[in-house]
Symmetry: C2
Subunit: 682 residues, 2 copies
């Protein structure tokens, strides 16, 4: 447990309370306002839920703090790690007129951290400032020396300071007693003296915020590159007689090294359960399925079993465990789908009809968006036997955990009650805090945020529909700031349900642009198989692929495509390598948008201070992306150096096309180093 | 107590709880999330303080509410007035994708109101929507009829409904039992049936937010036109021998009818206490005062007394009471200044040296902004005897209350501890809830807001420094939205301390522009005497009047100036008359900014729905202000009709110069009626 604090020497460990000035009386006790007003502490998560972070995340802790008049204040973050270790982190004012104070801390231990802010009158700073300006002006020289003497004598009496420090402070007090203006000025402006009080301030008057909590989850909860494939397609075969043979866990396992070699961390499988036969959908979502059409994996449940069973075509539970083990061998985690709905053939339909809605005619209600109906799906009803149903879902999740699975991609969580997710995720986390739930809630902002606040470790986002520069600037900034205390985005570039017009009509450049932004703008992103083959033909009138894999097997030859130069795989490999090489890309909150003169050239950076990197060097990535997939553009980029990207230069301009013009290509410049910002790495 | 609800027929009074569906079980009880998620209720005030409103204020109550899936929800505001009367107000969705629901209620009783939001499954709306779309599509006709029959039978069993309504519902159930698609469609789309369920919804599943409070203060806490004068100047005389004679409460009382006749509501007096002689400031803030220089009223305290005494030049306590009575006779309230600081001659300096800061050399510390010192002022120290000092201030405030004063303008509250104001205002409100404190905190946003949240009824603002169109748009919108739950702005156009460059160099037009905006953009504004005489000469290098009244008597002939056409008084009179004629101007939260094509023409409206006016007609003011005082401008104004300004027209454009061009003059058009938007009233 180190809780590294950025921009500050070292955090103080378990510091003792420093006594108040003897005469001071705190009459603020009976009020809501403390003696030093402290307000709006962040991280903050709406709804009373704990804020979230991940192991290794650099978290800004901020509070509004001020006091009346001209006297100086200081503020601390008092942080208690899950192992009980307490550290004290000095805050610095943002100096932007907001009275916000901040420190950044890397939280590096999984579990619940507790924190409070403390504000105090900083007696040394008050004296040093007044003394320095007054002595220079020849005002109150004797008084300032005398006040300084009093202050240093008080500090020297402080038994919590090391003996050598106390001796030194007493000796300074002695010098100040001689009332020499040059001496007093020297003391007031001495950096070493200031450092002594920065490490152990001389308090008077103080206040603290109530204690809050922040839940630190494992890094994979927020950082990872995801790849999605349908295991039934991997190894599927069209036999000579025209019939089709499903891929299996065993055949799909052969593709795992290839996925790992592209640099992905998580392999997500659509539902692996038996698929219903009643009203099974045929190719392209047609209402009639042929005898060898496999059906949609989201129509869960058949005679062979329900949510706790494996589709016989894929193999057995033992085959799944083999698949999971093979994945682990090449460094991949397996994520399963949790889609809480049933085909009409699901065992629950007969064993637990109370988990569905029965209509007055005795039939069970289909899923619908009136007047449309989805006759291959029964939605669950959480109101007639909520305890029974929630306990069954918990049983199912525990069942898959027992097979070695720790990540669940949750289908349409916004169509189930919010309380249920809060309940389920809390129960599962108590059993194993490493379990990750990803919310696939493509719905309005309020439920998306509420699901994240209530416990989901990750969320799909509107990323696929944010394609212009201005949309992306606002969207990415929002992810890094507004919702970062509780929502971790997973920027999937495509899904079996989403093939946006941008990808349909943007050509191969569009695929590169979207992958580069997804991979660099957030610590987690995802790709659904076929993206690297530029599969960009949509079913007419739909925003999804034609001949959609949801309803049929796909036979793809990834190796042949790559050999022919028709694959994005090398580019994805490079992006994932850059992600691994640059710790700045594995942070959520460090994105800063910069300016370019062109309305299609998006510029942002991810910066990590040296205090937070393993090698002790700061890490900066500047992404300059031309989001217009149809033309080469040239512009001037203006970097805001407040974002730490180029410290010595106040404002730097760089032409993205010189000295090495990077075109044609969507990412005009992707600079991996601030030392050679013009070098194109893509 | 009526708690009128806008856009809704009538609020339900003390409605009984409507029982849930018999089978429904609420398993959400153990979670933070209710069965219907409800989030971010507003009004909301940071720091845990109660939100504020004023008698007659139309307050928007909002909550985020949603549920999973397609079923409809409803939401209520349950409001308990200070007299215990409970009303229920139906919320409507804002329909902007935010899942925010709203109702507006006019709070018309002083005291503490309690409120909570309730969300529920709206079973009738769910059925009616599904039935209407499905029956038209020929889908599920029998099922929808049967579900409808079940629903109407359930409603008919509800003992909280009037007997006639129950009979009618039972009879509708009977018709639905015949499974006629035309009948079911007619029921599902019948406006009368919908109205029955709008008034008394058919609940299933529900949730409520925790109870919150809102403090409703008297109207004057937020609505009024203020005028400030120095009583010593009103009736002051320069005698033949050149010596000066101070005005008195008796002579100043003669000016009260004139102030009242201009339409003002509050007369604010700078400090009326004895003024120190030690280091008394002379004219133009000079360090040496002549024998007849009266000194700054803010240098409080002399041999004659301190904060509880009246300056002998002004008269006696009895004279003050006379002045207050005379003010009341003409409809004016008197506001006194509460400036918690002392001259070196203040009695406290000897009786309570512990209320000041004593330096090591035995002297008392002057007020300072290092290295600058203000030797006529000792600041108070609230930390050595906080209880003693706070009790003394409470005694002083009670003393002035006993003289008939109910309004206090507090000088520099941000230089005293915040806890102290929270404590003082709570104590004083408990004694007399009509007491109003106005915070003169010209400081950073965080303390300004914190003072308001902690209890101040009103606040000075940055208005004087917001002069461009874009500045004003942002500033006025912020006042009406962001901080309106707890901060009531008082838009003083000038003060003895503030004569902005805009007024110094903008000519008479600038004075009209600023007065018109101040008087219409917020329910409270203020004018310091001399503004109507266009006193625009500043002391060189300062942002305040030359020959400042703070340090000398002013001899003004208001009547002569008006007779010569050199006075703004007629314009102020007109503005105050418009304020009184238009209830929309006496609201804080109803300001909407509109668009104009010119970068100096500011357009905003104040609109009040008919449900909230006394005469039952809606009231709308559209202000079109040219904030460039140096030129006549012509532009096209675009009104956003969502702000209620012109309901039948989706977008209306009006040229401010036709048919009646309004120039030269700063306010191109000030339209008092939407019926003749082009008519100039100034």
């Amino acid at each position: 447990m180190s809780a590294r604090s950025g921009n500050r020497p070292a955090a103080l460990r378990s510091p003792a309370q420093i006594p108040l000035r003897p005469r001071a009386v705190d009459a603020s006790a009976g009020t809501r306002t403390g003696r030093i007003p402290l307000a709006e502490p962040t991280p903050f998560t709406p709804g009373g839920f704990a804020s979230k972070a991940f192991v290794g995340e650099v978290v800004p802790f901020r509070v509004t703090a001020f006091r009346e008049g001209h006297d100086r204040i200081g503020a601390h973050l008092r942080l208690t790690a899950p192992d009980g270790a307490e550290t004290l982190h000095r805050l610095t004012p943002l100096e932007d007129g907001t009275d916000r104070w901040q420190t950044e801390v890397a939280l590096d231990l999984q579990g619940i951290w507790r924190y409070r802010f403390e504000g105090f009158g900083d007696d040394f700073a008050t004296w040093a400032y007044a003394a320095s300006v007054k002595i220079v002006a020849g005002v109150d020289v004797e008084v300032m020396s005398a006040l300084g003497e009093e202050l240093f004598r008080r500090a020297a009496r402080d038994k919590n300071r090391p003996g050598a420090e106390r001796k030194r402070l007493a000796s300074i007090a002695e010098t100040l007693s001689k009332t020499d203006s040059a001496v007093a000025l020297a003391v007031a402006t001495d950096a070493d003296v200031a450092a002594v009080f920065a490490a152990r301030p001389l308090f008077s008057l103080s206040a603290a915020t109530p204690e809050q909590t922040i839940l630190v989850e494992r890094t994979m909860a927020a950082v990872g590159a995801w790849y999605e494939f349908f295991p039934r397609s991997e190894g599927a075969k069209r036999k000579k007689d025209g019939t089709l043979k499903s891929g299996t866990f065993r055949s799909a396992a052969k593709r795992l090294p290839g996925v790992a070699e592209m640099g992905f961390d998580v392999l997500y499988l659509p539902p692996i359960h038996p698929i219903g036969r009643t009203h099974r959908k045929g190719p392209n979502n047609s209402l009639v399925a042929g005898p060898s059409d496999p059906g949609s994996p989201w129509a869960i449940g058949a005679a062979e079993g329900g949510h706790d069973a494996v589709h016989p075509d894929l193999g057995t539970l033992a085959d799944l465990r083999f698949f999971v083990r093979e994945a682990h061998k090449v460094g991949l985690e397996v994520a399963l789908d949790l889609a809480l709905q049933a085909s009409p053939d699901h065992p629950w339909v007969t064993t637990h009809p109370e988990w569905f809605t029965t209509l007055p005619d005795g039939t069970i209600a289909y899923a619908e968006n009136p007047p449309k109906k989805y006759q291959d799906i029964y939605p669950l009803n959480f109101d007639d036997d909520p305890e029974g149903l929630r306990d069954e879902v918990l049983r199912i999740v525990k069942h898959w955990i027992s097979q070695g699975v720790k990540i669940f991609r949750v289908d349409n969580p916004h169509t189930k009650p919010l309380w249920f997710w809060e309940w389920l995720i809390a129960r599962v986390s108590a059993i194993d805090p490493d379990i990750v739930f990803l919310a696939e809630a493509f719905t309005r902002p309020a439920p998306v945020r509420a699901l994240a606040a209530a416990g989901f470790q990750q969320s799909y986002t509107y990323f696929t529909w944010r394609n212009t520069k201005s949309e992306l600037e606002e969207f990415l900034t929002g992810l890094a700031t507004e919702t970062a205390d509780y929502l971790r985005p997973n920027l999937f570039v495509n899904t079996p349900d989403i093939l946006t017009e941008y990808l349909q009509f943007g050509g191969r450049a569009a695929y590169r642009i979207r992958a580069a932004i997804a991979a660099t703008a957030a610590p987690t992103y995802g790709v659904y198989a076929g993206y690297e083959l530029y599969e960009n033909v949509a079913r007419p009138g739909a925003e999804e692929n034609i001949d959609n894999e949801k309803y049929e097997y796909k036979f793809r030859d990834f190796a042949a495509a790559e050999a022919a130069g028709d694959s994005l795989a090398p580019y994805l490999r490079k992006l994932n390598a850059i992600r691994r090489a640059h710790p700045a890309l594995r942070q959520l909150r460090n994105l800063a948008v910069h300016w370019s003169d062109d309305d299609a050239i998006l510029v942002y950076s991810k910066h990590l201070e040296a205090a937070f990197t393993d090698d002790g060097h700061s890490d900066t990535i500047i992404v300059v992306a031309n989001v217009d997939p149809h033309s080469v553009r040239e512009t001037t980029v203006h970097l805001d150096t407040r974002a730490g990207v180029l410290n010595p230069v106040r404002y730097m301009r760089l032409k993205t096309s010189s000295p090495a013009p990077c075109g044609p290509g969507p990412i005009t410049t992707l600079c991996a180093s601030t030392r050679s910002p013009n070098r194109c790495t893509s």
